[in-house]
Symmetry: C2
């Protein structure tokens, strides 16, 4: 049996995960990498077409020429979000070829990938290492995956590839636009998703790289977000994604009065503490509450006559409007959530594409996260020490990915605006079901019934002490929720470990246990 | 004594160069790299400022913090061309610190670096690995350098760094614009040189990276041609370069009737052979003859009503005019030779910056060179088998660098427009003083007295056979030159090897011997 050890956060984690030695979380900023980056084989132009044309007939041929075989690691990416058509196709082909035990290494999975449950069941895919949203997370939670899932943040995924923790055999990169050499972008064409940053590490480090597009243009495909010099094969297909599911175009601000209140309180907090100052920077995100916060920020900035030096994306029409109005000098964008974002990125040189390398990789000589003045994030649970969970619900089900959440915790101020309870289940708990982010990095919790500041942030406490803000302790907020909803039940979990949660440095911060069958 | 072995081109090369085993040239496309790419140490954000501010006081402090010590490899770059102020300063400081035996690894050196001869003499610098133009080449030719110089093409320099043949301890990257995180570009500021592509490999693979700028801006410096995530220290100085020497602004077409004739014949050749066709691509270069050729190309394109898909830079005002006129869809640029080039790259999204990685690296999954329909290059000597020399003169002196010359030989058609003689010394010779490019890759020699087509290019011979072009053999052209100038004398060389010439795959294609003192 796999021995468990206690990590620095007090969580019990296995010594071995999927056959590899796991490094327990040692604390924030404590793990020093002692190795060298992963070194891919040196390629040579000798083995590539002299005229640069790497086009071949179809994905099946590309997979065969890439040497697909049992046990390999195949990566795909979530640029097309819930409109992705590639991942399902790749594993249908693998199944048809009789390949077994593939590790799927997506940058994230979406409900559209529920299709792959059949290949998890029939043995084509052994397990998933990547953020899971929805059905696949549920499948995993119920202990049906052959091996242990591994979840990483966007930055952690780059780190894992760069450091050789995950060696990708075949990366399949879907692109809205590409040329026969393999240069590709996500900007031009009917499947435009904005950018291809989540595939950057794959292109640099994977053994074989396949670019798939439904918009093949003559060399050069400009701009090249993926460089053809890293690409082995290019395949043209009729359709790489379902446009209306790639960018919904329906991102709207919240209409819930509670959520609007939370958004307004968050903005007010940032105003009173001077976090909103001339030349500041922020990252909000794409949920309804986050969008509302951007709008409140804009109002404050107009009132004060100041502007932000930059905002981090995920971008949307509200952020683009702020850029165009001159309230923001630059959008540094990781993904575009609507068509306004795609168009802006395409046409506005101040709407800049970034990647998990520039923004989030912890094993680099610094990244952008630390330079952001304030970041607004979500959470499913928070404990009294500000430790937070973002992947499991209080019933134990793994239903969300980490995204850039862990990486953003390194920003100067981290605020979690969250409702005090959801479906009558309190959000502030004694012990988070899954630890995703250490409390020392989380500064402020904003709820509809009060704001709690982390005692570590004496500066923020000082700045707000004579304000009208409804400041409370987490203990007070928790008691208030429990008065209304009652004390929540603990999730019913078995001892079977179904997933591991990596920290930004590749260490294991927690695990997820199988949810016990109700019968 | 160092044993010599004959390489596949019949040149005798040493088994060991500066203590490392040398791989003899094996023929074009024959050397298969069996190793892995160089793997830098994994860095961690832990060791970099949380707020991203890596600025320190001065270059001396940066060199000391980078751990400068005897025998290290220090790289600098030629983005500022003859206006560079950094390389001299770096080695002045190293000398002041009493450091010895540094290997200087510039992307190229210019006459302004004559200053460094003192540090070659006083032992601060042991030798140079990089293209040498002028005084340093002369110093090297006279056998005064402590170790053997090594010359590489732009692509070969990327390859050598990527493959770990040259491990850079400290890269010092001068930039017209940078932010305190280390993001940098060559576009904005009084020292604007266009781009920073020659420093790309250094940023990715060097142990320590120092960015030096005279135009420090608030984060983010956009666009970032060098990514701050690779940078250790940022230094602000008063002046990184002398603007009027960075871009001369005086690039002019040739006025020599002979050169104009050669240019016109070259263009005519490309017209008759349909090399100039709708959607074609070309690379000319920046010399007077090359500029004239671009102008003749433009005339033909206007006449035919066609346009080029792309032109490769070095860009200049003539190429920019063609882009703006719509004769060229894209300029894929490696360096900007005048202010018009810099401005265009800054403002025109179809004027795209490239790097030695995208354009030239032979140890990648293909590069841009092979996709160029025709490339126009220079040469100091050509032999009867189309083998060419571009680094030494017929008197044996090493006076030029390789630049992208070897890399461009992989284009679909390679044309060398050269005068039949220079200063009464014939250019077509029995045996080139230094072999830089194998004749099998060189297709056409255009001289003022006739055009010679490589017998391997039966297609071009066929297409021109009934034309009015003055077709001759190299033998005929050589005889003609010798009738006028007499048979040239062989250079007077000693047996001492002063420099090695690398081929694009890291093998040694030839060496340069010391010029014998005349007394």
């Amino acid at each position: 049996m796999n021995k468990l050890v206690k990590n620095a956060a007090g969580r019990m984690i296995p010594e071995i995960i999927n056959g590899d030695k796991a490094i327990p979380f040692k604390g924030v900023g404590k793990h020093i990498p002692e190795r060298k980056k992963f070194a891919p084989k040196i390629p040579s132009n000798i083995f590539y077409p002299a005229d640069g044309n790497k086009q071949i007939n179809n994905i099946k041929e590309a997979l065969i020429k890439s040497g697909i075989r049992d046990g390999m690691t195949i990566s795909t990416h979530h640029h097309f979000r819930n409109g992705d058509l590639i991942a399902n196709l790749v594993f249908d082909i693998a199944h048809e070829l009789g390949i077994k035990d593939l590790r799927w290494f997506p940058s994230a999975s979406f409900p559209c990938h529920e299709h792959l449950i059949r290949h998890l069941e029939n043995g084509t895919i052994s397990h998933i290492e990547g953020s899971m949203n929805g059905p696949l997370g549920r499948f995993c939670s119920e202990g049906k995956m052959k091996k242990t899932a591994v979840l990483r943040s966007h930055g952690g995924r780059y780190q894992a590839i760069q450091d050789g923790e995950v060696q990708i055999d075949i990366a399949v990169i879907g692109a809205a636009c590409a040329d026969p050499f393999g240069n590709a972008n996500g900007l031009n064409g009917s499947s435009a998703s904005g950018l291809l940053g989540f595939a950057l590490a794959d292109s640099q480090y994977a053994d074989k790289v396949i670019v798939v597009t439904d918009n093949l243009v003559q060399f050069p495909c400009v701009p090249w977000q993926i460089q053809g010099n890293y690409v082995d094969f290019v395949v043209e297909v009729e359709k790489v994604g379902i446009p209306e599911k790639i960018v919904s175009g329906t991102t709207e601000i919240t209409k819930s009065p509670d959520r609007l209140l939370i958004a307004e309180m968050t903005a007010k907090f940032c105003e009173i503490t001077d976090i909103i100052h001339d030349g500041f920077s922020f990252q909000a995100g794409a949920g309804g509450t986050a969008l509302s916060i951007s709008i409140f920020f804009a109002e404050i900035m107009r009132k004060k006559g100041i502007k932000a030096r930059f905002a981090r994306g995920g971008s949307n029409k509200y952020l683009v409007q702020m850029l165009e109005e001159g309230l923001i000098e630059y959008i540094l964008d990781g993904q575009t959530f609507d068509l306004a974002g795609v168009e802006s990125m395409k046409n506005n040189p101040n709407h800049v594409w970034t990647s998990p390398f520039t923004s989030y990789n912890y094993h680099s000589k610094g990244n952008f996260a630390g330079m952001v003045d304030v970041v607004i994030l979500g959470a499913t649970e928070v404990d009294l020490n500000f430790n937070a969970n973002v992947v499991t619900h209080s019933d134990g089900y793994l239903l969300h990915g980490l995204g850039g959440w862990q990486n953003c915790l390194f920003s100067k101020t981290v605020i979690l605006p969250i409702p005090l309870f959801r479906d009558r289940i309190p959000v502030i708990v004694d012990d988070v079901t899954t630890l995703c982010g250490p409390g020392e990095l989380i500064d402020v919790i904003v709820t509809e019934r009060g704001i709690a500041i982390n005692p570590l942030r004496k500066d923020l406490i000082e700045k707000t002490k004579n304000s009208t803000l409804p400041l409370k302790t987490l203990k007070e907020l928790k008691a208030e929720a429990e008065r209304i909803c009652g004390k929540p039940e603990n999730p019913k979990l078995s001892e079977n470990i179904v997933a591991a949660i990596k920290w930004v440095d590749g260490t294991v911060i927690d695990i997820v246990k199988q949810v016990k069958n109700e019968d």
